[in-house]
Amino acid sequence: MKELTYTAAAREALTEEMARDATIFVMGEGIGKRGGNFNTTAGLFDLYGGVRLCDTPITERGFIGLAVGAAMTGTRPVIDFMFVDFILDGMGEIMNQMAKMQYMSSGRLTMPVVLRGCIGIGGASATHHSGNYYAMFANVPGLRVVVPTTPADAKGLFKTALRGYDPVLFLEHKSLLNTKGPVPEEDVAIPFGVARIAREGHSVTVVALTVMVNRVLQVADTLEKEGISVEVIDPRTVSPLDTDTICASIKKTGRALVVDEAFAPCGIGAEIAARVMETAFDELDAPVRRLNGAFVPTPYSPPLESVIVPSNDAIATAIRDLVRE
């Protein structure tokens, strides 16, 4: 094990896979010599040159469409969006072309594209640099949606994305980029659709997404002293979504809360609640509860920004209420 930041762990995966597979190339604004706005490609230009580290004009739809054509003809584009908010200009290319191409060609074409970039609220980034879009992408057949929380998961899941044949949204919460954690020395590719049990417990199951996993873990330590034993589950990928692990935990606890910074309506929590009711209704001792970020665009000023995100206090209250229910 070594200690790496989240970004360094993901970069290590990219560096190793680019060495292994000459068809991988990266596109994005400032990802060449500059090394990426978030250092996602620092040092790679010197290793692999300007064709494989392709700086782009500000033409999101253009290079997403380009990536589709490139993937159809045998190469593996990785698009680094810096902020995933910028992806929205190319949604038609993603939803109508990229996501449907394998299906429409009956599997004769593959679509190994990785679309990466940071998501999430924080740092007074305001509304065009703060979106969480994973629920929207999880609603599209043909796409894989990955939301790693730890450096080890960032590396292992990025490797799986770079070795697969499906289009993958690889979404990195900006508050996680500089967090550190142990990363295995070995070459580990973590499969999609397998949740991680971040903490074992028996009183209540809390499913948390991306940065909320870390918040819930902090809260769980406090609640342990009150005699509430919290099991924390990090799905790691939301498409596919591992509800088996969630339901197995509920079988033990009888109660579940989903904590998600993203919006509640039609969100991942709604999907989890529905699937739990379909497969584990008889295990529920209380309704599945959700705690989400507010259903608003993201405001700028720190006191406005912080109020729309689930706080540690709000998480603790939600868990206590659910356990008492």
Binding site: T59, G69, A70, T73, G74, T75, P77, S105
Partner: protein
């Protein structure tokens, strides 16, 4: 170099294949064999034929909603095109696509599309693959005058230009986007002039003259393979049938205009030129024509006899599946 007679008859054969297949499909549409839309390419055959005559199976073609001609010119068997519109298992997309989603990557037909514009970007991506992997393959986008007013046109041409990608952008300017005249929709109806904005060559050609298209495309593709970058080729042409089968001429274009373009039928023009240049005459063309007619009839029969796909086939290939 191919003998002139062989080239003329080869181009004629492809155009006749497109024409007779399209006429068969129009008839099948009236008979209820086509379940959805059917956009024919009648009148524009010279463009796909003249361009694709230069391509190998490793070159890739990205096409439009009016893509039957591109598919046939790129080498998709007639029976597979017809069967696709009939919704059958034999169809080149196994019944998943219909008229607007023809796929045959095995021959480099990377898809026709129901959305106007993306083909321009995808051909650019094929150019990028070629550059990265140094394959020498060329990406070709066919699109109409309508797409030239879409952002994808600008973004794709600019990206291909700055990376010097081996791409050929073929604008089939048939003067109407569905029923909206180009003279209404564009500040400048000469699409080829926009190439200057990207510092790439822009060529205008008579899209009903297959030999002219063949020559212009040849130059552009040679340039692409030599690593000198993309070309915009504007082919002025006209679709002589309605936008989609089942629609009516609603008066958006003058009947005289239709008649004038029908008189410039690309098959007829090729015959006339060959006779003028004393390469060959009607007997040779007629022989090709009737041989193609026989193939079309046989392909139609094969397509109609193909079974419908099983309902369960609708659920596979959403994601990559390990091939058995």
């Amino acid at each position: 170099m191919e003998a002139e007679l062989d080239l003329v008859l080869r181009l004629y054969r492809t155009m006749a294949a497109i024409r007779l297949t399209e006429e068969r499909l129009a008839q099948s549409h009236q008979a209820g064999l086509v379940h959805g839309a059917c956009h024919t390419y009648v009148g524009e055959e010279a463009v796909a034929t003249g361009v694709c005559a230069h391509l190998t199976m490793r070159d890739s073609v990205f096409s439009t909603h009016r893509g039957h001609g591109h598919a046939l010119a790129k080498g998709v068997p007639m029976a597979e095109v017809m069967a696709e519109l009939y919704g059958r298992e034999l169809g080149c997309s196994q019944g998943r696509g219909g008229s607007m989603h023809l796929f045959k990557p095995e021959v480099g037909l990377m898809g026709t599309s129901g959305i106007v514009g993306p083909c321009i970007l995808q051909a650019t991506g094929a150019g990028y693959s070629s550059k990265l992997m140094k394959t020498g393959a060329v990406g070709v986008a066919f699109f109409g005058d309508g797409a030239s007013n879409n952002g994808a046109f600008h973004e794709g041409l600019n990206l291909a230009a700055i990376y010097k990608l081996p791409v050929l952008f073929v604008c089939e300017n048939n003067m109407y986007a569905t029923e909206v005249p180009m003279s209404y929709a564009a500040g400048n109806t000469d699409v080829y002039m926009r190439a200057a904005g990207y510092n790439i060559p822009g060529i205008k050609v008579d899209g009903n003259n297959v030999l002219a298209v063949y020559e212009a495309a040849g130059t552009a593709i040679k340039r692409a393979r030599a690593g000198e970058g993309p070309t915009l080729l504007e082919c002025k042409t006209y679709r002589t049938r309605v936008h989609a089968e089942g629609m009516k001429e609603s008066g958006y274009r003058p009947m005289e205009e239709i008649a004038a373009w029908k008189a410039r039928d690309p098959l007829k023009l090729l015959r006339e030129q060959a006779m003028r240049d004393e390469i060959c005459g009607d007997p040779e063309f007629d022989e090709v024509h009737s041989s193609v007619a026989g193939q079309v009839a046989a392909a139609h029969k094969q397509a109609v006899e193909s079974p419908y796909p099983e309902g369960r086939d609708a659920l596979s290939h959403v994601y990559y599946e390990v091939q058995a």
